[in-house]
Symmetry: C2
Subunit: 389 residues, 2 copies
């Protein structure tokens, strides 16, 4: 339900879909997209592209920018993201604290707050922090995205071991406080989206694997989360991938789980913890048992090959703290994939980009969702009215 495929009933949904496509083009190349470029990319006429852009400008989503250099005729007016009006609220939920960021549409963080809490005080402190922000920025808030560790359908938290929650209707609660659409997003999905959105041409399936103390996966298609229910998708940490003598005991009580071999804790030892910065991880890795790293890479490669084969994935991206393991680890994984290559082409593996901001990811999913699924121009107009008056 997270992706923006509209049911194409009526003309209005066509308009919405085309507005969304136009907006996405500006998002992909802010400052260099033009009306004519949108017309070309979408196949719509120049007149329609102009009309779409006019509406996006009126909705405070896009602004006219500089004149582009001429390509033989009249110089085009470039389009930029309107960063001055709407704000996206991004809430990153972690067990003992939360980060609340207000992000402009161009991705710049306007304001950040940190809220620390204990298990008991969590809901109360979140409520009051969100209420504060909602009143403070009333009228400018567009959507909110909540990133959390655990399974969710976007509305409810099904299960979060880290947060100690089971079946919590968090989106409803926050929507009452904020009066804007709220979308819950699994943290690995958010990471995958932040990464996938960076690509200009993201064709085909891409498998994203987060490796920290835990392991999770997400699949993107053409730069967006793969369609279909994501309720419990990507929970691969405790699928068995090692057997017989190789299988180690896992903290989940079973044996041979992917996490028991390929998690950062498994590879670097119990000293590892998710809050470490890259230098600390690199240092830890330098003194780590090479066999354990190799074993982790092997187990990971097994997993990757199977999933990549089913989906015919174009690329595999490893994200999370494992990025700090650097190229040697990547080479281990890639070598293992290539070694037992299937008849079909090998899938290339790389690390996620370090500066793919996570708040960008969850913000983008939330924005995309709001625009694609629950957004009506009237609603947006209401949201953008106050600053205009």
């Amino acid at each position: 339900m997270l992706n923006g495929d509209d049911a194409l009933d009526t003309q209005a949904s066509v308009r919405r879909a085309n507005l969304r496509r136009a907006l996405q083009l500006v998002f992909r190349s802010p400052g260099s997209e033009t009306r004519a470029g949108i017309a070309r990319a979408t196949g719509l006429t120049a007149a329609t592209a102009s009309s779409l852009v006019a509406e996006l400008i009126e909705l405070h989503l896009v602004v006219d920018g500089e004149q582009a250099a001429s390509t033989g005729g009249k110089r085009a007016t470039t389009l930029s993201i309107d960063a001055a009006h709407h704000l996206i609220l991004v809430l990153v939920l972690r067990p003992t604290d939360a980060r609340i960021a207000l992000v402009a549409l161009d991705g710049t963080e306007v304001e950040t707050r940190q809220v620390a809490f204990s298990d008991e005080s969590r809901v109360r402190m979140l409520d009051s922090a969100l209420t504060d922000i909602a009143t403070e920025h009333a009228g400018r808030l567009l959507v909110a995205g909540v990133q959390l560790p655990g399974t969710t359908d976007g509305r409810r938290v099904f299960e979060s071991v880290q947060l100690g929650w089971t079946d919590v209707p968090l989106a409803d609660r926050f929507e009452r406080l904020l009066s804007v659409p709220v979308l819950l997003v699994n943290d690995v999905d958010a990471e995958a989206i932040a990464e996938a959105a960076r690509e200009d041409e993201s064709s085909g399936y891409r498998l994203f694997i987060h490796i920290g103390t835990g392991i999770g996966a997400a699949v993107t298609l053409d730069g967006e989360l793969a369609p279909g229910p994501r309720d419990r998708a990507g929970e691969i940490g405790h699928v068995q991938v090692q057997f017989g003598d190789d299988a180690r005991a896992c903290r989940c009580g079973r044996q041979g789980c992917l996490e028991s071999a390929s998690s950062m804790t498994a590879m670097l030892g119990d000293d590892f913890d998710d809050a470490m910065d890259d230098e600390a991880i690199t240092a830890l890795a330098a003194s780590a048992d090479e066999n354990k790293l190799a074993e982790g890479a092997r187990a990971l490669a097994r997993t990757i090959k199977l999933i990549a084969a089913v989906l015919d994935a174009a690329e595999v991206v490893i994200g999370g703290p494992a990025r700090a393991l650097g190229d040697p680890f990547l080479r281990l994984v890639q070598a293992e994939i290539d070694y037992t290559a299937t008849g079909t082409a090998d899938v290339p593996v790389r690390f996620a980009d370090a500066d793919a901001s996570i708040s960008t990811g969850v913000g983008q999913v939330a924005l995309s969702n709001a625009l694609g699924v629950r957004w009506s121009p009237a609603q947006l107009r209401a949201a953008s009215a106050p600053p205009r008056s």
Copy 2:
């Protein structure tokens, strides 16, 4: 590229998408769908639904049927598939022979031919057989679907070990002969679609695994093939799933491949062959080594769990000759899945329905593709003109 997601440019594409949705509803419950039912299911108004149906009737895709029993008001006119006009050509390609079937829209086979050939004569014999049919049924042919073992993007055969082909632009060639849209479909995909189309409510991902002398997988989403490039998707037979001492040598030259443990040949011995009927297989299974069956089930379960976890699959369906292994085998697989269950829900495994006709599968994909992607009402009108004159 096989699925019917339209680029939603214009009103015309909305019309096409809605025509397709209406047609699909009639296909799902022929003889019991009604105009009012289509309106309810699609959310469109009754007037629009009537207009869509009128166009489908004019295009000879649907006909009015009986009056339904009253549900409190006026009796509804049921809609049936118009089996009298259009024909789908289904070509099932195998190494030493091909089956050509002309299938009416309701799935009944109007005519069947068998063509046997050697490697050298194949192309020539196919060409002449197709030319014959094309002239014989000129004007009634709507689309053609070609089912074959090997990787394809719908237009070209990338690689087919069984047919000995590499990068053959088969669709172009056949389209020149037949003058109707031709779609190439991998055989496992066709099987998966035939199975998925049987379900009334096919929500979420479903993993289909064909097990014969080889093993292939296909993923469906909500009753249709999962979107995205399927060029080489589902080629899981030679991914390694057994390691260390367990790993057996595979015919592909490597070790521990899924096929080396879970193919019918691996489980039942070299006596097995894909052409066997169900009784022969059952007989062979009765005298088979139980350890090998158990080992095959175990390797299969490992594979299933990983893929199901990534996609959050709602169901796993096993098709192909393995269906004849019966419930005992299914129980082995299911037990293995449940035994090392991940924290999330176990995925149920079942066999494909025996009577899910394969020609239905490839025919449906081809039809859906033609309607969704390359079909224009004008084109269809041309195709349906001759029988009307």
